[in-house]
Symmetry: C2
Subunit: 410 residues, 2 copies
DNA sequence: GCACTTTTGAAAAAATTTTATAAACTTTGG
DNA sequence: CCAAAGTTTATAAAATTTTTTCAAAAGTGC
């Protein structure tokens, strides 16, 4: 007698344990290759706690499916030289879309994190459905222009500012991007035909720094993204921390100056009103207009020409007014950061965004403020650094976010 | 020909993969049984992603070693009734030591989290080596009095306030407990002969709530412990969050009232100065002395008799002065908590400590402040609750911390 | 009593690890 | 400079472990 046959596809397949373990290994190999770029079978076996023959089978399968390829043999060590494996740069492309309040960039990135196509336009993030329509046509045009097979695109990551509920795929700061109760992600997925992931720009930056930048390998890190606003990205236990709804890390509306400006959020002296690059420029412009002593006084007739880069350049040229202004901003920022440090006790803080170029002019006052406002125990294991990724942290982080989510869904 | 024999114990044994996987299963079974109390083989197999025969072998081994025992069969469900397994309450005891600034408690706890022996003394935490000497003799006396075989004790967890570097085993707030550069834990371990773990009292409370209290199963939770000070415990991804050095969660010195009292830390208007139970009592006493309208005025001749319980009782009796005082405290606390909520975006906040007994009198103003000081997105998925563990959260959390660390070291 | 569930344990099947050996390369010693 | 010794990787075969399958046992409900 034969056991009752499976009742077709309507019964949950109850994935067998062996399939589960196989997928776990596939995931592990892909993740490790993505992070380490190139690897030997022995290394993979060790990190995944399995035997070499077992890993060999998994990798062979991945080579056949086009995910992995060999890249010659290692050199230098004793003994027989191992074959090196890496992800295959041909195919499995991910689109990184970076929409900020001043422009929108499309990047086609291969599994080796190389940008194979890039296209930027001035169209900036707006809180309406037309913007999403623009985004869609922009993506579709760009795909055509890049002359890439659409089937080779495995996902899209959209990095935008705002409060983002990553799981539900909606942006609460820009709620009109999609219809109410319809996630922005499903809206895009339906049109594009591949999975779409939403990530907050500062969180993407933090992830990029943690995976490929200065914070590499650190368990607990903070990254502050000083641009038109100031955004905090949090890495805890080596993962970007989202919180229950994806909103974790709202530092911008912490009060640092009880006698400061009124913020659009209704409170007074929020960090955002003081330490963003835009508010720094505004204060510089006002001071120049009022006739302060500075090299920047050449713009006194038209202070609106002064940009953040002018301020940074002036500081590097020794202009004490510019240095003082940067110092003030850094100090207030450090004061606000102290709150986050007291709560998160990170190992490293990485400064990103336009102000990162001011390096020591902004890092030193941050460190001074931390020294003053944090207990000494917190400072001992803490370093503050400017990014060394030259603005690549955000798209690198977005790519990592998409890839890691795709791997996790195997 | 025979392969060269192992070179004795001086060569690293290079734990084989199969041993690693076996230990992983042992760990998994013990952790799951500890958390769920009682389990069937099928449940264990499912949660650990293995087959039933495989788990059967692991459990049999644990039964033989005395860790696990059967507790009859399940009832109610369809089909053949499965044998139930649980941890064996005899043996594998853990000592929970709870040293606060007013007393010290010794508890002997079995793997089913039952207190088999308990002893408390008034001796309170002091920052000197004599206190450690007292602790040692107190523990040793208590073990004798409990009439338990010392070999059946597998570890000790010490819950104390202060900045605790859990990995290094030192308390930075009370640095004189052990000699400089000598961890307090190794000092105790040498004398006692079993592993000792140090944990901050508020972190222990948070862990207890997350494992066995209201926050059960929540991924991201905060617990505030309002006692003589105010302590924050953080649960992230279901684990107690320590930060890089173990100091994460220092909320007490966040400024909530720029015109408030001077704190011992040097800043003004720290949360600690406003919302701790002791400062509440102090303010009540002052107001009563100055002749406020309240049932508590009966103590006007000797305000030092007023305790926190009197204030809470008065509130329950409808005394509007007491209600207002609790309201103020809760509101300020909620204001301070808002900072943590903006950064951690938790699902639940649990109020512990003596003030938890004031339930709605303290919960409502906390919620009001959160509504005012947090963006709406943060509030929607957030609940605020008083503990339902009646003060057991701290020792339960300490026990869980020890057990989970011991399991992890298998 | 019969149909249906679920657990349990033994045997068969499959997968994985370990062991052994060959291959590829570096270093050392004559 | 070449051969021998020592390393390390790759792969095939053996040993072991683990999973799957199957049938029996122990229940519920109609």
């Amino acid at each position: 007698m034969i056991a009752s046959p499976p009742l077709g596809d309507d019964v949950a397949p109850k994935r067998s344990v062996v399939v589960y373990k196989k997928n776990q290994k596939l995931r592990g190999v892909l993740s490790h290759l993505y992070q380490e770029e190139t690897c030997t079978l022995a290394q993979l076996a060790e990190t995944l706690y399995t035997s070499v023959p077992s890993i060999t089978g998994v990798v062979e399968e991945l080579v056949e499916s086009g995910w992995v390829r060999t890249t010659g043999t290692a050199t230098g060590n004793n003994g027989r030289r191992p074959v090196l494996f890496s992800l295959n740069p041909n195919g499995h492309y991910v689109i990184v879309l970076d929409s900020s309040t001043h422009d929108t960039c499309f990047m086609l990135v291969n599994p080796l994190r190389q940008v194979v196509f890039r296209r930027c336009v001035d169209t900036h993030l707006e809180n309406n459905a037309q913007f999403v329509a623009f985004l869609l046509s922009f993506v579709q045009e760009s795909i055509e222009e890049a002359a890439v097979n659409k089937d080779d695109i495995i996902g899209l990551g959209l990095a935008i500012p705002g409060l983002i509920d990553a799981r539900r795929g909606i942006n609460l700061t820009y709620p009109n991007l999609s219809a109410p109760n319809e996630p922005l992600t499903t809206c895009l997925e339906e049109q594009l035909g591949f999975p779409v992931y939403l990530i907050n720009d500062s969180k993407a930056t933090a992830l990029g720094e943690n995976r490929f930048g200065g914070g590499q390998g650190k368990k607990h890190a903070l990254s502050i993204n000083i641009d038109w606003g100031v955004g905090l990205g949090i890495i805890l236990n080596g993962e970007v921390f989202q919180g229950a709804s994806g909103f974790a890390g709202e530092l911008g509306h912490i009060q640092v100056d009880p006698e400061g400006e009124l913020c659009y959020c209704g409170k007074v002296g929020c960090l955002d009103t003081i330490t963003s690059a835009s508010s720094l420029v505004r204060r510089v412009q006002r001071a120049v207009q009022e006739g302060c002593m500075s090299k920047l006084a050449v713009y006194q007739n038209d202070v609106s020409q002064i940009t953040i880069n002018h301020v940074i350049e002036a500081a590097y040229a020794g202009d004490s007014f510019a240095i003082d202004m940067l110092h003030d901003t850094g100090y207030q920022l450090g004061k606000g950061l102290s709150v986050a440090i007291n709560l998160f006790n990170p190992e490293i803080i990485i400064v990103d965004g336009v102000l990162a170029q001011a390096s020591t002019f902004i890092i030193n006052p941050i460190e001074q403020a931390i020294t003053k406002y944090c207990l000494s125990g917190f400072r001992n294991d803490l370093t503050v650094e400017a990014t060394q990724l030259n603005g690549a942290a955000k798209w690198l982080g977005t790519h990592a976010y998409v890839m890691e989510n795709l791997f996790a869904s195997i």
